[in-house]
């Protein structure tokens, strides 16, 4: 059984030969191929070689396009800093206050160099592996885009104290977010992952979630022509899943290491895909035996749940994560399948 067939089983609510498992091993591909991160985040061919090395070394059931959310900020004019050991971050936002959105040119997903890099890298990974392994791309939901364009402080300030301005920003950002996701589907993405920091209890109040974030997500997701998986980003998400259930186009959720998966399943119903497992910062420092134990416990928790995928959470795997920890992750899935037979 290949990974596409496992995904088909999962979608049909049937048990496959073993659990699907995945980790975003985006920059880890550069570590495996000995590529500098500068080249990795600029050359689509170098990126695709990294994902080939990831598949050959760890064989995850889902591969990823570049995890480079700063590129979306760059596309709007923000400046990013690139590092030797980690992903780039926005260092200088394009604008400082809400009123500057009015004159801000929006990037063309087909022409902007940073978005072109992201999409070409995705296309190359899909071309090489997409027949056997689903390829996902991680983008940000419209509610998280302003943080990359005006900075987190200014976006929070606007959202909290000038709601009409925040809503006006969303009216401009929503079509862009949907369009970028749709172009990625056209490029072959099996699904799009959206971070939803501004819908998580660690970021916003219930009032903001219900009155602002959810309506924006409903509006945007209704324009998206493919399955979207919503990602917790930083904090546990389960406390808000009652409000986030039933969104259009949403196939599932990536939940945090501390999230209560039984409660999540109750809130979302049987059809939603759940992805969860150890957090990437924790995996960087843990012993392989501990990784295996946590994975095993998570798999045990979801033993009879056909729509669960063991997945690392929080973000891209750090490049100095011991390979033994990633192998332990995979081993837990294989041994769990053996136990079930």
């Amino acid at each position: 059984m290949n990974s596409i067939q496992r995904l088909q089983c999962l979608m049909a609510g049937e048990m496959a030969d073993r659990r699907m498992f995945t980790m975003p091993l985006s920059q880890y591909g550069a570590a495996l191929t000995g590529c500098s991160l500068e080249e990795h985040y600029n050359d689509p061919a170098a990126y695709a070689r990294g994902q080939t090395a990831v598949r050959e070394t760890f064989a995850p059931d889902i591969l990823f396009g570049p995890l480079i959310v700063a590129a979306i900020g760059e596309a709007f004019g923000s400046k990013a800093r690139y590092f030797d050991k980690g992903p780039p971050v926005v260092s200088t936002p394009a604008i400082e206050v809400a009123s500057e959105w009015n004159g801000l040119p929006f990037p063309d997903p087909d022409r902007h160099p940073r978005l072109s890099y992201l999409r070409e890298a995705l296309r190359r990974v899909v071309a090489e592996h997409g027949r056997e392994v689903p390829v996902a791309v991680l983008l940000v939901a419209p509610i998280d885009i302003p943080g990359l364009v005006m900075g987190l402080d200014a976006w929070l300030e606007t959202l909290l104290f000038d709601r009409p301005a925040a809503e006006a920003i969303m009216r401009r950002v929503t079509p862009f977010a949907a369009e970028l996701a749709n172009r990625c589907f056209a490029d072959g993405a099996a699904f799009v992952v959206w971070t939803i920091g501004f819908a998580s209890p660690g970021f916003v109040t219930r009032e903001i979630l219900q009155e602002f974030s959810r309506p924006v997500l409903v509006d945007t997701l209704a324009r998206v022509h493919g399955p979207v998986v919503l990602h917790h980003l930083e904090f546990p998400l389960v406390a808000n899943l009652d409000v986030l259930s039933g969104l259009p186009s949403v196939a599932g959720f990536v939940l945090a290491q501390g999230d209560n998966l039984k409660r999540a399943r109750r809130l979302l119903g049987a059809d939603s895909i759940l992805l969860s497992g150890p957090a990437s910062p924790w995996m960087r420092r843990a012993a392989a035996a501990d990784v295996e134990a946590v994975c095993r416990k998570t798999l045990e928790n979801r033993r009879d749940d056909p729509r669960f995928i063991l997945a690392s959470c929080k973000g891209d795997m750090y490049i100095d994560t011991p390979p033994a920890n990633i192998h332990a992750f995979r081993k837990s899935v294989e041994e769990f399948a053996g136990d079930r037979r």
Partner: protein, 235 residues
């Protein structure tokens, strides 16, 4: 009527305390400001901070309804504290009263870290608690932290980092302190989102202490300042 308010609109001290917690919890900065003004009219702004806002922030910091305190609520709490600071500073200037200050302390984001929000909120909380804060901003090299601490006589350096990669850059600050023979006399406070998920990271990067959120920062800095005065290297 909001939770904590009396049906007839009169607000007792107890009800003001409850109403303030409720206002900050629903991120209502304006209402929180009104309540603090109401209290200050009876007891003064110094008491409004010490007897009303500080206990409210502590209670909020312990978690509302057993759910995590959100970034939006923390941001509003910092803004409310900042508003209080502005008002009380204005009154102190008018009265020409001597102001009790603590510190100075140095604050900044670790080298290669550009996540300013948490650091700015910690700076606000410290200032509103009476600390003199020298905020060096984002992406601060290790030597600059230590140079500035020596220059201004700071006994605490506070470093914020969002990711594991940038948190590990804090080790350089510890190396600088060790190399200059300043460990113990200058204490290293560390914090940021990654410290909440990576157990033991504070020790790994050479931190003398950490706090789970910005509301706890003034307490942490007071504790570390006292240790710094004793020259205590507790690592």
């Amino acid at each position: 009527m909001t939770p904590g308010e009396h049906p007839d609109g009169e607000l007792s001290d107890l009800n003001i305390r409850r109403a303030l917690v409720a206002a900050i919890s629903r991120a209502d900065r304006e209402r929180a400001g009104q309540l603090l003004d109401h209290w200050a009219a009876r007891h003064g702004y110094a008491a409004a901070y010490k007897d009303l806002l500080e206990p409210a922030l502590k209670r909020i910091g312990r978690g509302i309804n057993s759910e995590r305190f959100s970034l939006a609520q923390a941001y509003v709490a910092a803004k409310v504290a900042e508003d209080m600071l502005t008002k009380s500073a204005g009154l102190l200037a008018q009265n020409s009263e001597p102001k009790t200050v603590k510190g100075p302390v140095v604050l900044g984001n670790a080298e290669e870290d550009f996540h300013a929000l948490g650091r700015r909120m910690v700076a606000t909380m410290l200032r509103s608690s009476g600390w003199v804060v020298c905020d060096l901003g984002n992406d601060v090299p290790a030597a600059e932290f230590v140079d500035k601490a020596i220059e201004i006589g700071a006994r605490v350096i506070g470093v914020s980092a969002m990711t594991m990669t940038t948190a590990l850059n804090i080790k350089e600050i510890r190396r600088e302190l060790d190399a200059r023979g300043l460990s113990g006399r200058i204490q290293l406070a560390v914090g940021g989102a990654v410290f909440l998920v990576a157990e033991g990271l504070c020790d790994e990067v050479g931190g003398d202490g950490t706090a789970p959120d910005m509301l706890e920062a003034p307490h942490l800095f007071a504790e570390l300042w006292a240790r710094g005065e004793r020259g205590e290297d507790a690592r």
